[in-house]
């Protein structure tokens, strides 16, 4: 068998998390709303109505373009994409065609082998979403709630080489979208949708062969699996003397199977023309510069900085930059904490992550502030509390909103470092354990651990272990 490589391009649709729809004042988010309850004459395409462009959608589109390193156009246009489908109430989709808001750009994917794959973007354009149609008991039902939800369509060049890479692309894109705050990027809710174009060629050649398009690969696993399946099918076909034809395929995630939807011998003609109901979208260079200037540090840059600045491992840096709020939290905690950045990282990776998981919160939603975390770690460092108490404090601060020191004082959680009190307590224990004291003194020194355990138990874990040993040895060796 020849050595083949798989050539993949992805077409993604990203739902922007604007307050309202792109051309009317209906709410953009209809999740769990009854069908056709979040619609108006504009988004349901009644005669005589006109679209009014939502400036927030343009702004978020520009932010995304900037984050993708795309060129943001000072003048872009909306066009009509004409076709008939029942979920498209106007019979045309308002989209962008030859003069979209963003052109070019790329997203870098760190690969497992340490290399980086640069995935180039062809263009980004703004458009309105269509509604949904489904068939129930032989009846076709329509829900227009989603009509007019703002989308960015972003198409990559054929730069991906495996299902895994395609999955990585979606993971990185999802991270970026949430990072810059333009989309919730929840694939299950359709905030991030994906079609994949797949072709194969002999490794070492540069031709682009006939591709197939896989629709509805709407989860990370689906992308990985569907592309894998399709690449396998194409290789087997070509190896057995067949020829890949231009198909549209549908991915059935439940059965893990591809089915042919239609052959694409003739390209659909959407008869694009400028949308006469809208003015050109004009962004001044000042506005564009401001968008770029206000862009936050992006995930990969921050990851690299964490490795360098805080001496974190690549793994730790990756985890701590998985979400922007987590990485912001980490930096704030490090700033408030006098000790090693690595120590703070360990707390974040283990205990704080567990807390976030249990509560289903993101770091910015916590009551427990980075300063609180820093204070808790410092108290452990200084022996004011033990590590177990420190860990339990995370939850207590989160639940009560009190500061860690306040809780330690209120609940008497501080370690008993006061020698007199501790000495009295130890004397009491020794007095009630004369047999063990005798054995120790007779040379069974391994009993020291048992004595420490007794002290810890009676103090409820608050005895300072170091001091306890010192006093015990002093008293036991007194004879």
């Amino acid at each position: 068998m020849k050595d083949y490589e798989v050539i993949i391009g992805l077409e993604t649709h990203i739902q922007l998390n604007t307050e309202t729809k792109i051309f009317c004042s209906c709410k953009a988010d209809s999740w769990e709303a009854e069908p056709n309850t979040n619609i108006c004459p504009v988004c349901s395409g009644l005669p005589g109505v006109l679209p009014v462009l939502n400036a927030e959608a343009v702004h978020k589109g520009a932010i995304l373009a900037a984050a993708m390193h795309a060129q943001i156009n000072t003048k872009s246009y909306f066009d009509r994409k004409n076709y008939f489908y029942p979920d498209l109430p106007k019979g045309y989709q308002i989209s962008q065609f030859d003069q979209p808001i963003g052109r070019g750009g790329y997203l870098d994917l760190p690969l497992e082998n340490g290399e980086t794959r640069r995935v180039r973007i062809h263009n980004l354009h703004l458009e309105e979403d269509a509604g949904k149609t489904k068939t129930e008991r032989g009846v076709r039902l329509l829900d227009f709630n989603r009509c007019g939800v703002p989308l960015v369509e972003m198409v990559t060049e054929p730069d991906l080489r495996s299902g895994d890479e395609a999955a990585q692309y979606l993971i990185r894109l999802r991270q970026l979208l949430r990072w810059i705050g333009v989309s919730e990027a929840d694939m299950e809710r359709g905030h991030l949708r994906c079609d994949a174009n797949v072709s194969i060629r002999e490794r070492g050649t540069t031709v682009l062969n006939t591709k197939t398009e896989i629709k509805n690969v709407n989860s990370i696993d689906s992308v990985r699996q569907a592309i894998g399946e399709e690449a396998k099918r194409q290789i087997e076909l070509v190896e057995s003397g067949g020829k890949v034809e231009s198909y549209t395929l549908d991915w059935d995630a439940d059965r893990g199977k591809l089915t042919k939807m239609r052959s694409k011998e003739t390209e659909a003609d959407y008869r694009y023309f400028r949308e006469p109901d809208l003015l050109p979208v004009v962004l001044s260079t000042e506005e564009i510069d401001a968008v770029i200037a206000r862009l936050p540090e992006l995930p990969l840059a921050r990851r690299a900085r964490f490795e360098q600045e805080y001496q974190l491992s690549a793994y730790d840096a990756e985890i701590l930059t998985s979400e922007r709020s987590l990485s912001d939290y980490y930096e704030a905690a490090v700033a408030a904490y006098a000790g090693e950045a690595k120590t703070a990282a360990n707390w974040m990776m283990n205990d704080l992550s567990r807390l976030l998981n249990d509560l289903g919160k993101t770091a910015d939603q916590l009551v427990l502030k980075p300063e609180n975390l820093a204070e808790i770690i410092s108290m452990v460092d200084k022996g004011k509390i033990n590590a177990a108490t420190g860990k339990s404090l995370l939850k207590k601060v989160e639940e009560t909103g009190k500061s860690p020191s306040e809780i330690v004082d209120d609940e008497g959680l501080g370690l008993i470092a006061d020698s007199d009190a501790l000495r009295k307590q130890i004397e009491g224990i020794l007095a009630g354990a004369s047999a063990e004291v005798a054995s120790f003194r007779a040379g069974k020194e391994s009993l020291l651990g048992w004595f420490v355990g007794q002290v810890m138990r009676s103090s409820g874990g608050k005895a300072d272990p170091k001091r306890t040993r010192e006093i015990l040895l002093e008293l036991l060796n007194k004879e």
Partner: protein, 533 residues
């Protein structure tokens, strides 16, 4: 003088001063409609009584109860000492292409014959808010596609009040006829290629196509969105100024509506024409049309009487102190119709996509195999001939393989037409015009069925009007005389961008200067026999 003869300006004055109640004007209008209009247009008119041939048939629907209710509201306001608005008590008809909440809005098409919009067009709302009384919805060519009113799915279509054997023009034929027949003082029409001005000219009334974007398009069922302009029809220039004053101004819900401040149109009427530069162009003296076989451009001079009316008007204005600038070149005027054919149909085909039998409007009652058959049958049965022709052509010229040779080229022609006007109006240019004076149409009204069915010929009757739609500039038509058959002649003043006040001022001056002309005393046929006070 009967109440229905009064101008909108006079009506509003009498209502405001309490001399006559708005309700009385509403009743008078309803009586006039009963007297001259005959049966309203409907999808199934059945056998008509011969007497209907002498009726106007302007209305598709008379909204009597609403009209009376609106009039009572105005009267109540006056009784309360509240501001009743500039159009207090003025009877108004609305072309049935504007959405009015709770009122059936048909576009004169079977495909949305029973559509009741849940909102009101901005233009209509502003008129009603200013105290106008809506008497009902008036007939038009189906979806405004036509120049004779005959393509309406609601028959009988409107007749010309001057001679009911003739067409009223179109597509705002019902609007023009209802004003000419004194059923209303004002009508709201739309003009995409001449659809206000041509019927206004044919029916001997005043019509104004404002600058593109001066009046909101919201609630207007779109024909060609980049060309559509709502505008007034009235019996004199002052009334159109008054109506525009109420309607004009930015609408945040129409992105293409202008944010420029609205001029004082009524105030502008006080000025005369001394020193104004008014142009005449040889390019408006003939109609140019391509040979259907060879594609060669032929030309035919405009009707003699029409040309004479334009020259007469120029002389009148010159005597009043205007400077007449002859031989203004408008060389791209002759390409206006072919470019319009392409641009308007591309937009129209797209705008008509939404009528698919799925959500509202007509759906085939036949059992269908699949979705495509539902679309095909619903649209085949629901649309009349004109929409079908326009959809076919619009789809053809915007197809990917043809767009560059038709649609993109038409857009270039459009910008060339625009540059003709820019040169003519350029204050530093050779011509420095304040207005261009032309005829509104090449001929006076034609007989019913004389042209209908010949889509190309019908369209070429718009050559004098369509250029200003391409350019977006305002244009006013007003009566300029009568032809040898006693049919009205329309003359047109075209102004620079957003200079409605200038063409209204010249039009008003012309009207005053010719107030005593003999032709102004002649009345439309359907009003003859009416006693003049």
């Amino acid at each position: 003088m009967s109440l229905t003869q009064l101008s909108a300006f006079e009506v509003a004055h009498k209502v405001r001063t309490g001399e006559v109640k708005a309700a009385e004007f509403a009743q008078a209008a309803l009586e006039q409609i009963r007297a001259v209009d005959g049966v309203s247009g409907s999808l199934n008119p059945g056998e008509l009584d011969p007497i209907e041939e002498s009726k106007v048939h302007a209305f598709i629907q008379v909204t009597q109860d609403k009209a009376i209710e609106q009039a009572e509201k105005v009267d109540q306001k006056i009784a309360n000492g509240d501001e009743p608005g500039l159009l207090a008590g003025v009877p108004l008809s609305v072309k049935d292409i504007f959405c009015v909440e709770g009122t059936r809005t048909t576009a004169a098409s079977k495909i949305i014959a029973n559509f009741v919009p849940p909102y009101t067009a901005t233009a209509v709302q502003r008129l009603v808010d200013a105290g106008a009384i809506v008497l009902g919805k008036v007939n038009l060519d189906e979806f405004t596609f036509g120049s004779s009113n005959e393509s309406s799915a609601f028959q009988p279509s409107t007749s010309n009040p001057w001679n009911t054997e003739y067409v009223p023009g179109g597509s705002s034929g019902g609007s023009a006829a209802s004003v000419a027949a004194q059923e209303v003082a004002l009508s709201l029409g739309t003009d995409t290629g001449g659809s206000i001005r041509q019927p206004a000219a044919f029916c001997g009334v005043v019509g104004l196509k404002p600058s593109y974007g001066r009046v909101s398009r919201l609630g207007l069922i779109a024909f060609a969105s980049s060309l559509d302009c709502p505008g007034p029809l009235s019996r004199n220039v002052r009334d159109s100024a008054l109506m525009l004053q109420v309607m004009a101004g930015n609408d945040p819900k129409d992105s293409t509506s202008s944010t420029l401040p609205v001029d004082d149109y009524l105030g502008a009427l006080e000025q005369d024409v001394k020193g104004l530069r008014i142009g005449l162009s040889p390019d408006y003296e003939a109609v140019y049309y391509p040979d259907l076989e060879s594609g060669e451009l032929h030309s035919e001079p405009i009707q003699k009487g029409v040309r004479e009316a334009v020259l007469r008007a120029a002389e009148t204005l010159a005597k009043a102190g205007a400077e007449i600038v002859e031989n203004v070149p408008m060389p791209n005027t002759r390409y206006g119709i072919p470019a319009y054919f392409v641009i308007s149909r591309v937009e129209a085909a797209s705008n008509l996509h939404r009528f698919d039998g799925v959500k509202y409007g007509y759906r085939t009652p036949e059992a269908v195999e699949d979705l495509n058959e539902l679309y095909r049958r619903s649209r085949a049965e629901g649309f009349g001939l004109e929409p079908k022709l326009r959809i076919l052509m619009g789809m053809y010229v915007s197809a990917a393989e043809h767009a560059s040779s038709y649609y993109q080229k038409a857009l270039k022609v459009r910008s060339m037409i625009r540059s003709d006007f820019e040169h003519a109006f350029d204050p530093q240019g050779a011509y420095r015009l304040d207005a261009l004076l032309t005829s509104t149409t090449a001929t006076t009204a034609f007989k019913r069925k004389a042209v209908y069915g010949n889509s190309v010929l019908m369209q070429y009757s718009d050559q004098m009007t369509v250029a200003s739609n391409h350019a977006g500039v305002p244009a006013l038509t007003m009566p300029g005389g009568l032809d040898e058959n006693g049919l009205p002649i329309g003359i047109q003043l075209i102004g620079n961008d957003f200079r409605e006040e200038m063409i209204l001022r010249i039009g008003n001056a012309y009207e005053q200067l010719t107030a005593d002309d003999a032709w102004r005393k002649v009345r439309p046929q359907v009003l003859q026999g009416e006693v003049r006070a």
